[in-house]
C-alpha cells in the first residue's frame, strides 16, 4: 500500500492517457508574460531590455498583476502558458495542454455528412456563457462568425446528471442547510471519520486524477447536455453575431471593433467561434471561398488574436470532405491554425462489425476516429504529435467521449468454430 500527499497528482486511468503532469500545482501565469520577446522581438538580456521580460520583473509581475479568470488554467505541458477549456473535457485532454492555450486557434475538421464538429463549437461557446452565469458577471464575450441569433438559442446547457445524481445533489443541498439533524450528522462524521465508509468520497476517488484538478478549477470546464438549451439565451453583452454579408474586410472590421470594445474591461476574455467555415450553405461558392482571400482573412484574424496577449482564443470547424487535397485545407492545416483535429466517422462496414461485436456492451460502440494533426505550440516546437487512427469518439447526450482506439475482435465466431469442431 502506498500513500500520496493530498496535493500530488494521481496517474490518470481515464479513457485517454494524460501526459505526465509535473506542473499541475502551478498558479495561472499572468497575462502578458507568455512571450519572452518584446514587441520588436529583441530578447532582453538579464536585467536589461524590456521590463516585462527579465526574470526579476516576471516574478514581481506575477505577484502584482496576475490576470485572474475562472476559465483559465495553466498548461500541463508548458510553463507560463494558460489554457481555456474547449467545452469538451476529452478534447482538452488530447490537446495535451489540458485545454486550448490562449492566443491559439483550433480547427476541427470533419469528414462525411455528420455534424459532430458543430456540436463541439456550440460546447466551446456554451462554456464561455456558463462561466458568465457562474461568476454572476460577464467575464467572457463570444463572437460567432457567419451565424445569426439562432445559434445562441441552440447552445447546450450544463448537464444536470441522471435522476440518481440529481437526487444525490438534492440531498447534499439539504445537508448543507442548518438544522438540528444535520449538526448531529456532522458530529457523527467527526468521531468516526477514519472508519466510516463515505460513499461520496469513494465516488470522488473513482473520478481519479480529474477530481483534484476540478476542485482547483471548478468552473474551468463542464459537461453539457446537448438536448437542453441555455436559458435565458445569451444576450448581446455575452455574444456577438458577425454576418458575412460585407465580405471578409467587413468581418475583420467588425471583429476588431468588438474585441476593442469588450477587452476594455480588463477581466474579460474573448472566444471566437467560426462554425461551418467555408461551407457553401453559409459562405456561398464565390469570393468567400477563394483561396487567397480565405488565407488573408484568417491571417488577419490571427493577428487580432495575438495582439491581445492572454485574452483571446479561436475555434473553427470545417468540412474536410469538401476541401480535401485543396490549397485551402493544406494552408489551414499547416500554416494558419495552431491546432488541427479531424473527426472521421467510421465506414459503414466497421459500424456493422461493432454492432455485432458489442451486442451486449452498447456503450463500447464508437462513432468514428479522432485524428490529431497538430497540437497548439508543441507541434510548432518540433514535437511529432500527428496521431492518426489512435483515438475514437462517441457523442452522447452529456459527453463527447474520446478514448484510445482498439480494433473490435469477433470472439463469438471463434467460440462457435470451436464448438462446431467438437
Amino acid at each position: 500500500m502506498s500513500f500520496r500527499r493530498r496535493g500530488d497528482v494521481v496517474g490518470g486511468r481515464g479513457p485517454v492517457p494524460m501526459a505526465s503532469n509535473p506542473m499541475l500545482n502551478r498558479t495561472a501565469a499572468p497575462a502578458g508574460m507568455r512571450t519572452p520577446m518584446t514587441r520588436t522581438g529583441i530578447i532582453p538580456t538579464r536585467g536589461e531590455g524590456h521590463p516585462n521580460i527579465s526574470p526579476v520583473s516576471l516574478d514581481q509581475k506575477s505577484k502584482e498583476d496576475v490576470f485572474k479568470h475562472l476559465g483559465l488554467k495553466p498548461s500541463i505541458a508548458l510553463s507560463n502558458i494558460n489554457c481555456v477549456s474547449t467545452g469538451t473535457k476529452d478534447i482538452d485532454t488530447i490537446l495535451i495542454h489540458g485545454g486550448l492555450p490562449v492566443n491559439c486557434s483550433l480547427l476541427i475538421e470533419e469528414d462525411g455528412n455528420t455534424d459532430f464538429s458543430g456540436i463541439l463549437l456550440k460546447r466551446y461557446v456554451s462554456q464561455g456563457i456558463v462561466q458568465n452565469r457562474k461568476e454572476g458577471k460577464i467575464v467572457n464575450h463570444c463572437i460567432a462568425v457567419g451565424m445569426e441569433s439562432n445559434f445562441g438559442n441552440e447552445l447546450p446547457d450544463i448537464y444536470a446528471g441522471n435522476s440518481k445524481e440529481r437526487k444525490k445533489k438534492l440531498v447534499r443541498e439539504q445537508e448543507g442547510k442548518m438544522s438540528v439533524s444535520n449538526i448531529n450528522a456532522g458530529n457523527d462524521l467527526k468521531i468516526a471519520w477514519r472508519y466510516k465508509k463515505d460513499p461520496l468520497a469513494k465516488e470522488d476517488d473513482s473520478i481519479s486524477s480529474n477530481a483534484s484538478d476540478d476542485s482547483k478549477y471548478p468552473d474551468y470546464n463542464h459537461d453539457f447536455d446537448i438536448t437542453s438549451k441555455i436559458t435565458p439565451s445569451p444576450g448581446p453583452t455575452e455574444i456577438s453575431y458577425i454576418r458575412l454579408d460585407g465580405g471578409y474586410d467587413h468581418v475583420i472590421f467588425e471583429i476588431k471593433k468588438t474585441v476593442e470594445r469588450e477587452l476594455k474591461d480588463k477581466n474579460k476574455m474573448i472566444r471566437i467561434a467560426i462554425p461551418y467555415m467555408l461551407n457553401p450553405m453559409v459562405y456561398g461558392c464565390e469570393d468567400l471561398v477563394e483561396f487567397h482571400s480565405v488565407v488573408r482573412f484568417l491571417y488577419e484574424l490571427r493577428r487580432i488574436i495575438n495582439s491581445y496577449t492572454g485574452r483571446i482564443t479561436l475555434m473553427a470547424s470545417t468540412s474536410s470532405e469538401l476541401f480535401e487535397g485543396t490549397n485551402v485545407l493544406c494552408s489551414l492545416e499547416n500554416l494558419i491554425f495552431d491546432g488541427v483535429l479531424r473527426l472521421v466517422p467510421f465506414p459503414h462496414e466497421l459500424n456493422i462489425l461493432m454492432e455485432k461485436v458489442y451486442k451486449t456492451q452498447r456503450e463500447k460502440i464508437k462513432q468514428g476516429y479522432v485524428d490529431v494533426y497538430r497540437v497548439p505550440i508543441l507541434s510548432g516546437m518540433g514535437l511529432m504529435e500527428k496521431r492518426l487512427k489512435e483515438y475514437s469518439f462517441k457523442n452522447s447526450k452529456s459527453k463527447f467521449h474520446i478514448e484510445q482506439w482498439s480494433i473490435p475482435v469477433e470472439e463469438e465466431d471463434v467460440d462457435e468454430k470451436k464448438n462446431s469442431e467438437f
Binding site: R34, T35, P36, M37, R39, T40, G41, I42, I43, P44, T45, G49, A77, L78, N80, I81, P101, N103, C104, F291, H292, V295, R296, Y299, R302, R303, N306, S307, G325, T326, N327, C330, S331, E333, N334, L335, I336, Y373, R374, I377, L378, S379, G380, M381, G382, L383, M384, E385, K386, R387, L388
Partner: protein
C-alpha cells in the same frame, strides 16, 4: 555495438571538418524543407544560437570545441509562428549576445507592413553588415506571403528573396506539403547550397523519435558564391532526432543521406544537359533577373521532362 567513432557522429554538423558546423557560407541560401508534422523550430534555434555565439556554442553540437568566433547579427522573420512557439528554446539556449538577435513576426507586431517586408529586412541587414561580417537572416514560411500580399507572384517573391541574399546569409524554412507553393520550393531548391529536410518516420509516429533530418548538397556550389570559402564541404548524412516538450533535443547519426542527394544530382544533371540553367534561375551572381522570364511557366513546361530525366538519372546511378 557503439564505438567512440560512432559517438562523434552524434554531433549535428552540416559541413565536414568545419568548426562552425551549422553556419552556412556568406550570401548563400540554405533551404530547410519540412513536412507538416515536423517543424524545424529546434533546428532554427540551434542555428541562431551558433550564429550569435562568440565561442561557437550550439546545443545541437555540444561536444564541438569552444572556438572564438565573431558573432553575427541574426534576424529571424517568421510569418507563421509567434514567439510563444520559440519561447522555450530562446529562454534556454539564446543566452549569449542577445542584443544581436531579433525575432520579428507580423502576427504579433502590428506595426510591420507586410507589403514592404523585404525592404525592412534589407534596411536592418544593411545597418549591421560590415566588411568582415555578413548578418544571418532566417525566413520561416515565406510562402504565406503569396496569399497575404495581393498580386504577389512567385517570380516577384523570388526577386525579393534574392535581394536579401545579396546582403545576408539566408536560411529559408518551407513546408513541402503546400500545393500552391510547390513551384516556389522547386525554384528555391535550385538556388540553394544546402538542403535540410525534416521528415516523419516512414513507419509512422514513434514515442522516442520525432523524425529524420537529411542533410544534402544543393545545386549551388559554395565556391561559386565566394571564392574564399571553398572549404564548406557538405556532410551528406541523415540523423534521427527526438524533440521533447521541455526543449531538449537529441539527435543520432543514422546514415549517409542518399535519396535526396540522388534527386538533386539527377535534377542538376538534367538541367545542365538541357542548357536551361540560366532559364531556371541558377543566377546567384545577379547576372539575370527572375523577372526577365516567367519562372512559373518555365517550370510547368519543364517539370514533367525533368522528373522523367531525374528518375532515369537516379536509376542509372543506382545501377
Amino acid at each position: 555495438m557503439a564505438s567512440a567513432s560512432d559517438l562523434q557522429e552524434q554531433e549535428l554538423s552540416f559541413y565536414q571538418g568545419n568548426i562552425h558546423s551549422l553556419i552556412a557560407p556568406e550570401n548563400s541560401i540554405s533551404l530547410i524543407l519540412h513536412e507538416p508534422a515536423n517543424y524545424p523550430s529546434w533546428l532554427i534555434s540551434g542555428i541562431i544560437q551558433q550564429s550569435i555565439s562568440s565561442n561557437n556554442e550550439c546545443y545541437l553540437s555540444q561536444q564541438s570545441p569552444a572556438y572564438p568566433k565573431t558573432p553575427s547579427s541574426t534576424f529571424f522573420y517568421s510569418f507563421s509562428e509567434t514567439e510563444q512557439t520559440y519561447s522555450k528554446y530562446f529562454l534556454k539556449y539564446i543566452t549569449q549576445n542577445k542584443s544581436l538577435f531579433q525575432f520579428i513576426s507580423p502576427l504579433t507586431d502590428s506595426t510591420i507592413s507586410i507589403e514592404s517586408w523585404n525592404k525592412s529586412i534589407i534596411t536592418k541587414v544593411k545597418e549591421t553588415k560590415t566588411k568582415d561580417l555578413t548578418p544571418v537572416v532566417i525566413l520561416e514560411s515565406p510562402e504565406l506571403l503569396l496569399s497575404i500580399i495581393p498580386g504577389l507572384t512567385i517570380p516577384k517573391l523570388l526577386t525579393q528573396i534574392m535581394e536579401i541574399q545579396k546582403y545576408a546569409t539566408l536560411y529559408i524554412a518551407l513546408s513541402t506539403d503546400l500545393i500552391n507553393s510547390s513551384e516556389l520550393v522547386i525554384s528555391l531548391l535550385h538556388r540553394s547550397s544546402i538542403i535540410l529536410s525534416l521528415t516523419s518516420l516512414t513507419t509512422g509516429r514513434a514515442d522516442d523519435i520525432s523524425g529524420v533530418l537529411s542533410i544534402s548538397k544543393g545545386p549551388i556550389h559554395n565556391e561559386d558564391i565566394n571564392k574564399k570559402l571553398v572549404s564548406f564541404k557538405i556532410a551528406d548524412r541523415q540523423f534521427v532526432y527526438f524533440v521533447s516538450a521541455n526543449g531538449y533535443v537529441d539527435q543520432w547519426f543514422a546514415s549517409v543521406s542518399m535519396p535526396m542527394k540522388l534527386i538533386i544530382i539527377g535534377l542538376t544533371t538534367v538541367y545542365e544537359s538541357l542548357e536551361i540553367k540560366s532559364l531556371c534561375g541558377l543566377f546567384t551572381n545577379g547576372k539575370k533577373s527572375p523577372e526577365q522570364f516567367d519562372l512559373s511557366m518555365a517550370f510547368i513546361i519543364f517539370r514533367n521532362i525533368l522528373e522523367i530525366h531525374a528518375i532515369k538519372a537516379m536509376v542509372g546511378m543506382l545501377i
